[in-house]
């Protein structure tokens, strides 16, 4: 007896219709729970990678590739890791460690012979972190890592660090101990009230936790730390005069930041050899620990900013740096009120292509980057800082910084053409020769010795 076709066909149609309804019910749940997030850009994958990615084995392939990348790490073959990072994050955007390691790798590991980071990669690192945070927004981790890039690596534009760490703090899995760091970001961004509020909030939570579990040592320690931080902060803010500035009575009383201290900045740059600079100068601040930033970059670099570049550009992850751009950044360590540094860019032609015609050498100091004891004198926004020649209130909004810019041409930097026999030297206004201070191994700390201060 043959089967009757009509009722069977009808049942197939009915079942397919029901199946379609179930499919459409399940699909949105699958997208939110199990699929790679929409922001994972898969268009960059090659056809065979795409096939594997979408055929259900993406996590497996990503895992295998990441193991391979680990081998490259061990071998020091950093360039080989970059494409793997990209493929792995495309295949499995849920692998947080790949994003975090990738960001760190890109931002920190590409250096020149003198261990200066290739800053041209930082926009890529930020884009990677941003993508990772979007794809894994249930956890604080990549928000934290991206904020850390702003806070520690870029060490500037602290509003961005604040922004990222605020988002990190909103996530339930952020450890309590790590939440303190947001307060530090607030301070560096000049947001004192927010810092105080944050500390107070953390303290209240810690005290509640201690009350619940009074025998937990960690709870006790947490409360003590937060109380100490808050106390220190309040004292510092008071002594530096921040409350007085806010209250409008700063001029009436004596504060640690009054009067502003003239740092006596001057600098000279000598092109000793092709792509080799000798940088020296003065910084009239006695305590050790100041680092004055020096940046050499293309003068006409479209993404360039005073002593920086536009760090966050797009959400598209592009692991290729701008190969034709030269951007060197270093820190000039001050001791004995002088700094000296030999910057050799000749051994890293890939990092310093010198393809442009004109360059600027910029000197920059912002007390927000400094240690607390420096900030005690200079204040968070440089209210205790001045320089007769190079105080600048424009390059960083609302802040008093030291900024100087000198120009050099390509021929001068490469010591070619007419500069092959002449030594290019550029100086800031009022340059004071540093003499032997730069070579003296002894660091003079006034107040601890009875000898008079050395003079030139």
């Amino acid at each position: 007896m043959r089967l009757k076709r009509t009722p069977l066909l009808a049942s197939i149609v009915a079942l397919v219709a029901v199946g379609g309804v179930l499919n459409r019910t399940a699909y949105p749940i699958w997208v939110s729970n199990y699929s790679p997030r929409v922001d994972a850009d898969i268009s960059g994958l090659q056809a065979d990678q795409l096939l594997i990615a979408l055929a259900g084995f993406r996590e497996m392939v990503a895992g295998i590739l990441w193991v391979r990348a680990d081998t490259f790490f061990d071998e020091g073959n950093y360039d080989a890791i970059l494409p793997i990072i990209r493929v792995v994050t495309m295949l499995d955007p849920k692998q947080i460690d790949v994003y975090a390691t990738g960001m760190w790798h890109i931002a920190y590991n590409f250096t020149d012979e003198q261990n200066r980071s290739d800053r041209r990669y930082i926009p890529s690192a930020l884009a990677l972190g941003s993508e990772g945070a979007r794809n894994n927004d249930y956890t604080y981790e990549l928000f934290f890592e991206t904020g850390w890039l702003w806070y520690h690596k870029i060490d500037d534009d602290y509003d961005n660090a604040v922004d990222w760490w605020e988002q990190a703090t909103e996530r339930k899995d952020m450890q309590v101990a790590r939440k303190n760091i947001l307060a530090m970001a607030y301070l560096r961004a000049g947001k004192f009230d927010e810092a105080i509020d944050h500390y107070e909030g953390l303290l209240a939570n810690a005290q509640a936790e201690l009350k619940k579990n009074p025998n937990e040592f960690a709870n006790r320690q947490n409360v003590d730390t937060l109380e100490g931080n808050l106390d220190n902060l309040l004292v510092r803010l008071a002594q530096r005069g921040n409350f007085a500035i806010k209250g409008g009575y700063y001029d009436q009383w004596s504060y640690d930041t009054r009067p502003p201290y003239d740092v006596g900045f001057s600098a000279q740059v000598t092109v000793e050899d092709s792509k080799v600079l000798r940088v020296e100068g003065t910084w009239g601040v006695q305590p050790v620990g100041t680092r004055v930033r020096i940046v050499l970059r293309d003068r006409d670099y479209a993404s360039g900013r005073p002593a920086a570049m536009v760090w966050a550009r797009s959400n598209q992850v592009d692991l290729d740096p701008e190969k034709n751009v030269t951007f060197m950044q270093d820190g000039l360590f001050v001791k004995n009120q002088a700094f000296f540094r030999r910057v050799d860019m000749s051994r890293d032609p890939t990092m310093y292509p010198f393809s442009s015609d004109n360059y600027v050498v910029e000197f920059y100091y912002n007390p927000r980057s400094g240690p607390p004891h420096i900030q005690d004198r200079f204040g968070y926004s440089g209210e205790g800082l001045t320089d007769k020649n190079y105080l600048n209130t424009e390059v960083r909004e609302g802040q008093r910084v030291i900024f100087a810019s000198l120009e050099l041409t390509r021929d001068q930097l490469l010591r070619q053409g007419e500069w092959s026999t002449k030594v290019p030297i550029v100086r800031t206004k009022g340059y004071v020769a540093t003499g032997s201070r730069q070579t003296d191994e002894v660091i003079n700390v006034p107040g601890l010795r009875n000898e008079p201060e050395p003079t030139e």
């Binding site: 007896m1 043959r2 089967l3 076709r5 069977l8 066909l9 049942s11 197939i12 079942l15 397919v16 029901v18 199946g19 379609g20 179930l22 499919n23 459409r24 019910t25 399940a26 699909y27 749940i29 699958w30 997208v31 939110s32 729970n33 199990y34 699929s35 790679p36 096939l51 979408l54 055929a55 259900g56 084995f57 996590e59 497996m60 392939v61 990503a62 895992g63 295998i64 990441w66 193991v67 680990d70 499995d92 849920k94 692998q95 947080i96 460690d97 894994n136 249930y138 956890t139 899995d173």
Partner: protein, 263 residues
């Protein structure tokens, strides 16, 4: 139904003795056993790599087994003429087809159970701190792989009623790939505002009608712990129901073709 169950039982007995399948199974188990060798990274990465690799191996091996197991079931019976002695008994053709399918799924279940057991053992050895809850979560993935492969087996069984085994391997493999690929692509098309309504409608129709294998890939939630999963029970119930419906569809279609097939 006695006939169906008897045919299923015989099919299982035959399938688990087929050397090709045993070799594929052995390779899969070997890969599971050597998986810990890949875990050379941080603790969290060890977990991620271990689980992603082992679950991927199970899925891949199961897909190959499901296809190879099923494409030869009917053609072998016809070639060896065992089908004649069976169909000359009071056995309807659809009994025969259903019995063969259930046998295939039974054999597949046994093989996947073996692989899952190895998976759990390897996981427990490598992740000593793993709780029972972690193990249960991990074991969820093979369960849904099994549902996925049962659907794939139904597809292969349907094709086996009218194409040769070699063609069937490519057809079934192709449907599996498309059924896994289509979700993001067609969903993307159906949501793309720049496309014409006709194209969007066609994409929506395909997305709705073609078996969706991608939704059984739930391993992402296991491999990358942390994201909170929503409506999990509803999701599981829906996709199991979906599989049952589509298995029924393909079996009915296969029965309709097989009923009139000259063997």
């Amino acid at each position: 139904m006695n006939a169906v169950l008897s045919i299923a039982k015989t099919t299982i007995g035959e399938a688990i003795r087929r050397r090709v399948l045993l070799v594929i199974l052995l390779i899969g188990v070997l890969f599971l056993v050597i998986a810990p060798g890949l875990s050379v990274l941080s603790a969290r990465q060890n977990y991620t790599v271990l689980t992603s690799f082992t679950l991927g191996i199970i899925q891949l091996t199961s897909a190959v087994i499901a296809i190879v197991l099923t494409v030869y079931l009917l053609p072998n019976e016809v070639e060896r003429r065992t089908i004649y002695t069976i169909l000359s008994k009071p056995v309807y053709r659809w009994h025969f087809l259903l019995g063969k399918y259930l046998g295939a799924v039974g054999a597949l279940a046994m093989m996947m159970l073996l692989m899952s057991t190895v998976l759990v053992l390897v996981f427990k050895i490598m992740q000593r701190d793993a709780s029972m809850e972690d193990v249960m979560r991990l074991a969820t993935a093979p369960i849904f792989f099994f549902v996925q492969m049962s659907l794939l087996a139904a597809v292969a069984m349907f094709f086996s009623t009218f194409v040769s085994p070699i063609v069937n391997i490519f057809l079934s493999g192709g449907v599996y790939l498309i059924g896994t690929l289509f979700s993001p692509v067609f969903q993307d098309l159906s949501n793309n505002k720049n496309l014409s309504p006709a194209v969007k409608g066609a994409a929506t129709l395909v997305h709705t009608v073609v078996p969706n294998f991608a939704q059984y890939n739930i391993q992402s939630g296991i491999i990358n712990r942390g994201p909170e999963l929503r409506s999990v029970e509803l999701y599981y119930a829906t996709i199991v129901g979906y599989a049952l419906i589509y298995i029924t569809v393909f079996l009915i279609a296969g029965m309709m073709v097989f009923d009139r097939k000259e063997v």
